[in-house]
Amino acid sequence: MKPSDTAAPEPLFDTDQLQELRPENQLGKTALLLGMVCLAAWIANMVNGSPLHQALPGMIILYVMVMIGLVIGRLSPFYLPSVAWVSLISILMTLPFFPGNAWIVERLSHVDFLAVVTPVLAYAGLALTGREFQMFRQTGWKLVIISLLVFTGTFVGSAVIAHLIL
């Protein structure tokens, strides 16, 4: 990683690093890591989703959708986050007129919606860095209050507008 050009003595957050972390920029490594995290999700899905053999086609479909989305994100002439591409691919493949959409949807029904997120949060908990714990201790309660108000504000703001229009 190249050193940041800014004069900051110790940046809180490195934008170069953010750039490097974009999964579509390193497709080979991402393909391997994606296999690893899909394995974790597949096993987590056993408890409240479906048995391993039944959920396997669904997990593979998800893997393929993600990779297609990342490749498009890499090649796209304009910027959209890779998550948006992945989302668009999976919408397209499950639209009523897409060939084989019923089969895809049926296979995916064996992958539990919440079980796929459980490992994500386990990774998140394990990946918190010393810097994040330290910043949390320092800036502490004021920012916690503000953050909760920020989250409440965006949620209630959107919900009220949508409620009035629906």
């Binding site: 503000i146 703001g157 919900a159």
Partner: protein, 273 residues
């Protein structure tokens, strides 16, 4: 990305075991006043992850070395992708309903400006924060929003410190808070639960997952419809969020900050120093 650290077998095994325990505990419900608080498996997975984090208890260094934990950031981004794909697959089959709800879906994006309406006055008037308040409250502080602040003010600036603070709190507690809040508000039965589903789409994968997951548990018979709405709203936020926060939210935050007398307060503080 250091593959040797990212493919550390102890890290992935720990995640798998933590997930199995969390899934096995399952969903717990606690009545609170007029509503119900829902605890989802993703909560327990996060708590287990934090408790095993070597930066919190150095004894855990034996299970997962600190350098593995430091390198593991990219795995969060990658592991959310299969979920995003699963999420998208709820939108395709429901495309007709989504088009029917189009106007509500598009206009509720403006609700994302609600971040500052509630939080900025409190930050400036009650907590007496300076320009940190602008960075902290103009958006929900996810990666695209950080990029904007970094570009405009730099991350060592007060605005940068503000947004990084909310980013860190969001990373640590955002998911949990969204699930608790969404499940609870749904159980109060005041706002149309489809509107709540749209409000879940805030442009953060794990937050939208927790938020819509909690709604589905609160109103299980509307499962497919709710997931489709929150997924569509989230996608819309990914596509428009950057522009809304750059061209609308940030100027409005600057204006509101001046209106609230934030600048005057700060000068006064300098004089007393």
């Amino acid at each position: 990305m250091d593959m040797k650290l990212l493919l550390n077998w102890r890290l992935h095994l720990t995640v798998i075991l933590a997930s199995l325990v969390a899934e096995w505990i399952g969903i717990l419900r606690f009545p609170l006043g007029p509503g119900v608080l829902l605890l989802l498996p993703l909560f327990y997975a996060f708590v287990i992850g934090v408790l095993l984090n070597p930066h919190l208890f150095s004894g855990m260094d034996k299970v997962i070395p600190k350098r593995v934990s430091n390198a593991a950031g990219p795995l969060i981004l990658i592991s959310i992708l299969p979920f995003i794909a699963k999420f998208g697959s709820t939108i395709g089959p429901a495309i007709e309903q989504i088009i029917a709800a189009g106007p509500a879906l598009i206009l509720q994006e403006l609700g994302n400006l609600g971040t500052m309406l509630l939080a900025l006055p409190v930050a400036v008037l009650v907590l007496r924060m300076g320009r940190e308040a602008i960075g902290a409250t103009y958006s929900i502080a996810r990666e695209p929003n950080i990029a904007i602040i970094s570009d405009r003010y730099g991350l060592r600036s007060p605005e940068g410190i503000g947004i990084m603070g909310v980013y860190v709190v969001g990373t640590m507690f955002g998911t949990l808070y969204f699930a608790l809040m969404a499940g609870y508000i749904a159980s109060l039965d005041i706002i149309d639960v489809r509107a709540l589903a749209m409000a879940c789409g805030v442009g953060s994968g794990s937050m939208v997952a927790a938020c819509s997951g909690a709604l589905v548990e609160a109103v299980p018979h509307m499962r497919d419809e709710l997931l489709a709405f929150s997924g569509a709203s989230n996608l819309l936020t990914y596509a428009t969020g950057l522009y809304v926060s750059l061209f609308i939210a940030l100027p409005v935050a600057e204006w509101l900050y001046k209106r609230l007398g934030g600048a005057a307060l700060k000068e006064a503080r300098h004089e007393t120093l």
